[in-house]
């Protein structure tokens, strides 16, 4: 009799245990799991989504760059700097008529906009052609040299000298931005 009662009670107990509520995992638990899985190479992002996101991002960057170029009235067409090294020589780049006439203030503003466009550009791919890498390095070296001259001149610069340096900086930055976007387009497409 006791055994029967006990068994029935145990069945009731088991039934009550089965009815206990389910618990939801903490928020963020999946994110942590996925991060670890990615670190351990257990999952891959869906390629379609990755490419789509890259394209969306590139499109946004391209729009931003176009706006910058429109503001600057700089040429977007012509020989791709990625295909042909930018002709850098001792005298610097030939200035466009617009830049030749630009005031020091507007050149500085253009340079700032190009900096922003460069910051928004896709990251430099790990693998690139030697000629492209060399061109980028040359451009960046020249920009650094100009920044040095503008920031720490050996003697006070005349306005004409400062304008020439800022004009060259704008042109170098322009080439660099175009090169970076051309490169990203080739990686994605």
């Amino acid at each position: 009799m006791y055994e029967e009662k006990s068994t029935q009670t145990d069945r009731d107990l088991a039934e009550a245990l089965r009815r206990l509520p389910q618990h939801e995992p903490p928020r963020g638990a999946w994110r942590e799991t996925r991060r670890r899985a990615e670190r351990e190479g257990l999952v891959r992002r869906p390629r379609r989504r990755r490419v789509r996101r890259d394209l969306e991002w590139l499109a946004a960057g391209a729009v931003a760059a176009t706006v910058v170029f429109a503001l600057l009235d700089l040429p977007l067409s012509g020989t791709s700097p990625a295909e042909e090294p930018v002709p850098v020589d001792e005298t610097g780049f030939a200035a466009t008529p617009a830049e030749n006439d630009a005031s020091l203030g507007s050149l500085m503003a253009r340079s700032r906009l190009l900096e922003e466009a460069l910051r928004a550009a896709p990251e430099t791919p790990r693998v690139m052609r030697a000629s492209t890498a060399s061109t980028i390095a040359t451009l960046e070296d020249r920009i650094a040299m100009i920044d040095q001259q503008l920031s720490f001149p050996e003697r006070p610069l005349s306005e004409a000298e400062a304008r020439a340096l800022w004009r060259e900086r704008v042109q170098l930055m322009n080439s660099l931005v175009q090169l970076r976007y051309a490169q990203a387009r080739r990686v994605v497409l």
Partner: protein, 201 residues
């Protein structure tokens, strides 16, 4: 009812997950995580440890899914992984040192648990009563009563004998009854509430 019962996952999702598709793994997680987390919480008790078990389980699922042959349902397969992870955790050196697991009956009260309830001075609800059981009893009672494991399966999972599982279950039930009936009120009141007042009970 076990949280794993009735979970079905689309074959196409499993195929994509086998190839390492993160989106498919997220779908598996969304379907199975509440059941895995609840199981882990019942077995290891501490929420932080249960969260660790949840992650360990799904990482193992990702590693082992290419070897999943489909003999059992995916939910059953995932549950097996989760149970194994929880038992490994409970068997870990830390838990053994803390006396939480693997030291047999040392925490079992002679008369089935009433002293614990008396010392707490409260009538415990079923969830709290379950959590108060020693780890081995908790594991046995949950795997048997909720997940539907046989004593043989429990014995194998815990690296013990079938009779060990039976005796643990018997003691766990006795202790639960003692905990639920302990404290103030007429004997059996809390037990009746725990087993009868639940939805559908």
């Amino acid at each position: 009812m076990s949280g794993f019962a009735g979970i079905s996952v689309d074959e196409a999702v499993i195929r994509r997950a086998r190839r390492g598709d993160a989106g498919a793994h997220e779908s598996l997680y969304r379907a199975l995580a509440p059941a895995v987390y609840t199981l882990a919480l019942r077995l290891v008790k501490a929420p932080a440890a249960a969260e660790d078990m949840l992650q360990e389980t799904f990482i193992e699922v990702m590693r082992s899914l290419p070897r999943y042959r489909g003999d059992a349902s995916l939910a059953t397969w995932v549950r097996r992984i989760a149970v194994s992870k929880c038992l490994m955790h409970l068997r870990s050196a830390w838990n053994r040192r803390a006396g939480e697991f693997g030291d047999g009956d040392s925490h079992e009260p002679v008369d089935g648990g009433a002293p614990v309830a008396d010392s707490v001075g409260l009538r415990m609800d079923l969830e709290a009563a379950l959590a108060s059981l020693p780890a081995e009893s908790r594991v046995v009672v949950w795997l048997h009563d909720v997940e539907g494991y046989t004593h043989r399966e429990i014995g194998m999972a815990m690296q013990k004998t079938e009779s060990y599982s039976k005796s643990q279950l018997s003691r766990a039930h006795r202790r639960l009854r003692g905990l639920l009936d302990g404290g103030a009120g007429e004997p059996g009141d809390a037990m009746s509430r725990a087993t009868g007042a639940l939805p559908g009970g």
